[in-house]
């Protein structure tokens, strides 16, 4: 133990001095992982008591069940060439749904791209998911972004942006605005452990910490950034430990455990809103699925590794808990799963027949009003399409239709 000298210092740090020459090790701080539920859906011996009521538990379970069925069907639809792209939540359903459940509706969500379960928990409808994926005229994003780039003003879910990590400092700014307005709300920001390597991660956490912004940074450490394993992504004790460097509280939680995630985020939310301070939450889970429908994980990881984690199924674990609580009828559960499959297919068939957005949407929303040069470019494009209608069949027949 080093002999410490206490000396006043003018910097914004709590600093002690020593005469002993030694490094501080890279594992000086190791953060434990908070757990409640074991694989059998039983509370660990000595685990803390759950504060989750039946209604919330049912809504969490229903969301996870829906997302799992939905993901499976949509990946199949992508394989059939009906949807151009898809990303599954597989393996992280509990992390995403459990955290979303711990929030209030007025809280803002800035997601990365694998958090469709949070949006579903908020009430985004099956049809709305489908319209976005088919880039049709009912898509809130007006067919401008790739599939899975959802967004909903009504549900306080900021539209997904493709560049990685850009939402991190934005969440800090959004939360700062919430604080100024004094509405007792906060902002949660999801990102993967890979995105935590981006400059925006540092920028965002530092800004939030310095400006006392009620932001919940939720790092989904799922082991892989596309093909790069966490071991090639960072050194040291994961993502959570970095919070200490920013002067911020942190908690690490078992991302397969919906109960534990719920309690952790609930506590973080309460602390954040009360103290106007950010919190970093690290969920430890495993991305069971491929990164996206364009990725093939057999090229970079062993099947055995995936199988190990398949046994840690977060949905199954919570299902067992629900059954033990007497909150779920297993026969009924199977029936509902089948019903969801049918509903998803029905919604898909409807959405794929909905027309594309009007051609005019190509120039709207660039600015609040369409400026003259864009109006001119649009008129030129329209005239061109009308000259070669057979080459632009989706739009040629609809030009002139009023919106």
């Amino acid at each position: 133990m080093a002999k410490l000298l206490n000396v006043e210092n003018p910097t914004n740090t709590i600093r002690k001095d020593t005469l002993e020459l030694d490094f501080v090790g890279e594992h000086a701080l190791s953060i434990p992982t908070f757990k409640m539920l074991d694989d059998n859906g039983e509370l660990y011996k000595g685990a803390q008591k759950s504060s989750m009521d039946k209604e919330t538990a049912i809504r969490i379970y229903e969301t996870m069940r829906f997302i799992r069925v939905f993901d499976e069907r949509m990946l199949a639809a992508q394989r059939q060439g009906r949807v151009s792209f898809y990303m599954q939540c597989l393996g992280e359903e509990a992390a995403v749904t459990g955290s979303a459940a711990a929030l209030e509706d007025k809280d803002m969500i800035f997601a990365q791209y694998r958090e469709q379960a949070a949006l579903a928990y908020r009430g985004f409808k099956l049809e709305q998911f489908m319209h976005q994926m088919f880039s049709n005229e009912k898509d809130f994003g007006k067919g401008r972004q790739m599939p899975i780039h959802y967004g909903s003003k009504e549900l306080n879910y900021s539209t997904i942006s493709s560049p990685l990590g850009t939402q991190i400092p934005q969440a800090a700014g959004y939360a700062y605005g919430q604080k100024l307005k004094g509405d007792g709300a906060c902002t949660i920001c999801y990102f993967g452990e890979g995105a935590a390597s981006e400059g925006d991660f540092h920028a965002g956490l530092n800004m939030a910490a310095v400006h006392n912004s009620p932001t919940l940074f939720f790092a989904r450490n799922n082991g892989y950034a596309i093909s790069t394993p966490a071991s090639e992504q960072f050194k040291g004790d994961g993502i959570a430990v970095r919070a200490t460097g920013y002067g911020m509280k942190a908690i690490r939680v078992d991302g397969f455990d919906a109960l534990a995630v719920y309690e952790a985020v609930k506590m973080a939310r309460e602390y954040s809103v009360k103290n106007n301070a950010p919190v970093l939450i690290e969920s430890i889970a495993y991305r069971l699925a491929a990164h996206s429908s364009s990725d093939d994980p057999t090229g970079y990881r062993e099947k055995e590794e995936e199988e190990t984690f398949r046994d840690n199924c977060p949905v199954e674990r919570f299902r067992k808990y629900m059954v033990k609580q007497g909150w779920l009828d297993e026969a009924e559960d199977e029936k509902v799963k089948e019903q969801i499959k049918v509903q998803v297919l029905d919604a898909l068939k409807v959405a794929e027949k909905v027309a594309k957005p009007a051609l005019e949407e190509i120039v709207t929303d660039v600015y609040e009003e369409v400026p003259a040069h864009l109006q001119k470019q649009y008129e030129q494009l329209k005239a061109h399409i009308l000259k070669y209608p057979e080459s632009y069949p989706a739009t040629a027949s609809r030009i002139g239709e009023s919106k």
């Binding site: 800035f110 401008r144 539209t159 850009t166 400092p169 800090a172 605005g177 600015y367 003259a372």
Partner: protein
């Protein structure tokens, strides 16, 4: 009316916006008690409090990322980037996020409540990292408005309009003129419309076009040319994107000649965009090739700043080439 320099005019526009919008925030490196590196935000923290006028950490991508979130939340965000030369760490947040927020979400979300203020341009012996005019990079990105004042009066009115705009604006402040440009400026609020060029001086023989500090070079060159019997029409573009094609082309159709000048390097600069559009719109009216008077295609030098700049003499020579073609 009061005598104000450009910094005082900017400060006055900011103070009015802060009074009108109870949550509006000004933030950036050193903008708090210190009042910013050029003192444009002097006294504002004292007046509006540390929650609304604050120093940020030294992180441009953080400032702009934070601003994007704050504006998306509905609060008027007025970030300052200390020098336009230092805007590049925030480039991704501006071109991929600020500029596309509304379009990508189908207007579910937008960051129209944002004005990024940044001092730009040469003439202050700043060398290659304190003198750049990076507007062309941003003009290439749909969704941003780029505004340039040429004097104190314009600065206050254009900034007030930018702060009211529902589109994100980058407000480029010519730092060479911060203290040099002094004029009569109303103490109350007024706005000058964005997207509108101003004909600063009517003329018959040749149209001279520039924006920001460069307009001063046009005025001096026009004065010299007048002694040679050449009548110049001087236009201040004021908004670089989206720009006022109509005013510019109407003038070129009248004069038959165009000299366009910018501080930034020649290749790929906004002057080239203007030249392309004008030849398309005014081809049969042109009496001579469009002249571009720009910075060299080199980084901005320190010792040879005077030689490097697209000064009034270079503009004057271009005017003569154009008229005598």
């Amino acid at each position: 009316m009061a005598k104000m320099n450009m910094l005082q005019a900017i400060n006055s526009a900011l103070a009015i916006a802060m009074e009108e919008n109870e949550n509006a925030c000004i933030f950036g490196e050193d903008v708090g008690a210190f009042g910013g590196v050029f003192r444009a935000t002097s006294g504002l923290q004292e007046k509006f409090g540390k929650d609304r006028v604050f120093n940020t950490p030294l992180v441009e991508q953080g400032i702009l990322g934070f601003a994007n979130g704050l504006a998306a939340q509905g609060t008027l965000a007025i970030p300052e980037i200390q020098f336009a030369d230092y805007i590049f760490p925030a480039f991704d947040q501006i071109v991929n996020e600020t500029a596309k927020f509304r379009f990508r979400s189908g207007n579910e979300f937008n960051v129209g409540n944002m004005v990024i203020r940044t001092p730009y341009g040469g003439g202050i012996h700043g060398g290659l990292y304190h003198s750049q005019s990076p507007e062309a990079y941003f003009a290439h990105t749909p969704g941003l408005k780029l505004v340039f004042p040429r004097n104190a009066y314009q600065a206050k009115g254009l900034l007030a309009a930018s702060l009211e705009s529902n589109d994100p604006v980058i407000f480029f402040e010519p730092k060479r003129l911060y203290r040099a440009s002094v004029g009569e400026v109303p103490e109350g609020k007024y706005t000058i419309p964005l997207g509108k060029a101003e004909i600063v001086q009517q003329g018959e023989d040749v149209t001279l076009l520039a924006w920001g500090a460069q307009v001063e070079m046009l005025e001096k060159a026009a004065e010299m040319a007048e002694k040679d019997g050449i009548s110049c029409e001087v236009i201040d573009l004021r908004t670089v994107a989206p720009w006022d094609v109509e005013t510019v082309t109407a003038s070129v159709i009248k004069t038959g000649r165009l000299v366009v000048s910018q501080e930034a390097p020649l290749t790929g600069g906004f002057a080239s965009e203007i030249a392309a559009t004008v030849q398309e719109e005014c081809f049969l009216h042109l009496e001579s090739p469009i002249e571009r008077v720009c910075g060299l295609d080199t980084p901005y030098p320190l010792a040879h700043e005077k030689e490097y700049m697209a000064d009034h003499l270079k503009v004057y020579e271009a005017i003569k080439r154009s008229v005598n073609y």
